[in-house]
């Protein structure tokens, strides 16, 4: 799943340097490569064989994440930008960071909308 608006701005091929990923402009009103997501401290997580179960006690809602979404979730620690996450996951996912970037951004955007992550306070 690739956000069409993200495709418009992010290169399909290319730079392998994380600094170059970070230089791509952020989406207006959405999350861009330099966005630093942080898991909300009140959210609970439980291991599933092929992913995670996330429970938000404030909204009383639960969500199942597949392996890729779980890997993104793990790196939403307030230290990694979306570009960092794409870069780190590219090392074990057999894809380039540029290929992963739209998927990672879409996943983080969804987590943000669901109130499961927030923007790092210092960002």
């Amino acid at each position: 799943m690739v956000a069409p608006s993200a495709q418009k701005h992010w290169p399909k091929k290319a730079p392998t340097q994380n600094s170059m990923l970070n230089s791509i402009p952020d989406e207006a009103g959405g999350v861009g490569p330099s966005f630093k997501p942080r898991r909300r401290s009140t959210v609970r997580q439980h291991e599933l064989p092929d992913g995670l179960l996330i429970f938000n006690p404030q909204s009383l809602k639960a969500f199942a994440l597949n392996a890729s979404a779980s890997a993104v979730w793990d790196l939403c620690d307030g230290n990694h930008t979306i570009a960092d996450i794409a870069l780190e996951l590219s090392q074990c996912a057999g894809r380039t960071p540029e290929e992963l970037l739209p998927d990672v951004a879409t996943a983080v955007q969804k987590l943000l909308e669901l109130g499961l992550v927030e923007q790092d306070a210092l960002h």
Binding site: D50, L60, S68
Partner: protein
Amino acid sequence: MVSGRPEQSNESLSPEGKGISRRALLQKTGWAVPVIVALTIPQDAYASVSPCRNTLSQGYWKNHPNSWPVDGLTIGGVPYDIDQLIEILKTPPKGDATYILAHQLIAAKLNVAIGCPPPIVNGTNLIEKADELLREYPLGSRPSKNVKTAMTTLAEKLDDYNNGKPYN
């Protein structure tokens, strides 16, 4: 940590170790489009995903602001920070049912925020019902008899929930 704060599991808040194994799994399976699916959880299943041991009374929350698991709450559609919420909790109702209900609603929301199962009766979440009433009759509006009765009845149920008593 303030004495008396409810016990919470830290295991689920430190996913880094598991994250490494999950990334190893990703290496095996390869990348797929990230999927996040909303689930419907039966009320009795909340216990299995909840670190809650006991609900806590509005008196506890009023006197232990450092134990609050959130920076603020929305009550009746109005967002408040902790200081404002403590002020509300410290305000004597003096017969105003909106305050009687708000006191219990604040405590109930905090109990849910620490992972306790929400108070649901016949499919109705009492917290949502209280919010609806306070949206219609805002804090300090001193509603008249019928609404006052509805609010105090609901507040009693939330009080029972907050004190760990049956609230059906």
